[in-house]
């Protein structure tokens, strides 16, 4: 069964790759099969997680009746299918989004703003044994971060010194985007390596596995 499975996987891999030549019925078959199978897989995982693990087990097995509230709110989502009572589903959406908003404010401010600002300012001074090169790099980080923030400041027209600083910000951003580009290439090539390893090692049993 395992060997047959690898044959199926390899043929489906080739079916998807066939799109590189041109769109064709084999590719479209594989594409639609993928959509259907994935939807089924996700449905099972979501239902098992939300309805069984987080609802059935605590409520029925452990007697935590308060957790039924989650089920009720979740069920309200289904009102979205009925135009006249659709508004009832807003309670579930408001609950989810507002709860997230409530805890995201202090957490994001702390981890993504304050800690980052603190590290930018303190870095050159709070680490012992730094060389002049490290100090220069730390200064560059400070200059880069501040100039980028100024570049993103849209409440004033960028003229004079503001324009000059935001130009520095753009320069840092471009280098950052370049680094992202280089790493993106790395990621994409890796995904292809993975498919070739599968085809050559697992399917055709060529090379070293």
């Amino acid at each position: 069964m395992e060997g047959f499975g690898i044959w199926v996987g390899a043929l489906l891999t080739l079916a998807i790759f066939s799109f590189l030549y041109r769109e064709n019925p084999i590719y479209r078959f594989a594409e639609h099969l993928f959509v259907g199978v994935s939807a089924g897989y996700y449905l099972v995982q979501y239902c098992f997680s939300a309805l069984y693990k987080k609802l059935w087990v605590p409520v029925v097995d452990n007697g935590q009746w308060l957790l039924l509230g989650g089920g009720v709110l979740g069920a309200l989502m289904l009102f979205r299918f009925h135009r006249r009572t659709e508004w009832i589903s807003r309670f579930a959406i408001a609950f989810y989004v507002a709860a997230w908003s409530g805890y995201v404010i202090p957490s994001i401010l702390k981890a993504q703003v304050l800690t980052q600002v603190r590290s930018t300012i303190l870095m050159p001074w709070n680490t012992p044994g730094l060389t002049w090169w490290d100090h220069l790099s730390a200064a560059l980080i400070l200059i880069g971060t501040v100039s980028i923030l100024i570049y993103f400041y849209f409440s004033h027209e960028h003229r004079g010194p503001l324009k000059a600083v935001s130009q520095v910000g753009i320069t840092f951003l471009m280098i950052g985007f370049g680094a992202s580009f280089g790493y993106t290439i790395m990621g994409r090539i890796t995904l292809l390596i993975g498919r070739f390893q599968y085809l050559f090692y697992d399917w055709l049993k060529l090379g070293s596995s």
Binding site: I16, V35, Y41, A179, G194
Partner: protein
Amino acid sequence: MKRTAPIVFGFVVGMIMFLQYFIPHAPFTTAYSLVLDWKQVVFGMTLILGIVSLVRHHGTKVQRREKDWAYSVVVLLGFAVMAIAPIVQRTTEGGIYGWMFDHVQAPMQATMFALLAFYVASASYRAFRARSVQAALLLLAGITVMLGRVPIGEMMAIHVAGHEFSLATLSSWILDVPNMAAKRGILIGVGLGVTATALKILLGIERTYLGRSA
């Protein structure tokens, strides 16, 4: 009622979640834990909406014999097998469900994304031009990181006055310093943006997430 009640309800829940950060004691912590548990159930239920829409869309296509309806049959069959298999086998581990994941879903999902390697190559060839100094900087940084992070580039180094200058070191410096500054600038900006949006949601100023007429 249809608009205000959900916003008020959201405000109360949101404030509980906000305040517990500063007052980590009952009853805030009790309510906080309960909300987190409920949230997980609500999130899980949202997928059902998406799945119902997908099945409806393809079901209608098959029923009306619309163009390419045969492909919709493939979607529905694939879906049905995966949705029913765990019920029949009474587990989500192994069986047809696990086999279909390992040999149908996973290889195709991986290959779909592997196609990007070809597209990014084509884009590199046709689109990435050094049309300005800043574009040239982007390309140079990209090439340095690309080469400096793989073994072949790591071997590229020159020796000047007893010091080694390697592509790997330059690449690491780009990532650690200018890249880090760029990402940090974006991160702080995004952090402030998320905070502002969350505050607007909490106060009922931002309400587009509730739907068209809210």
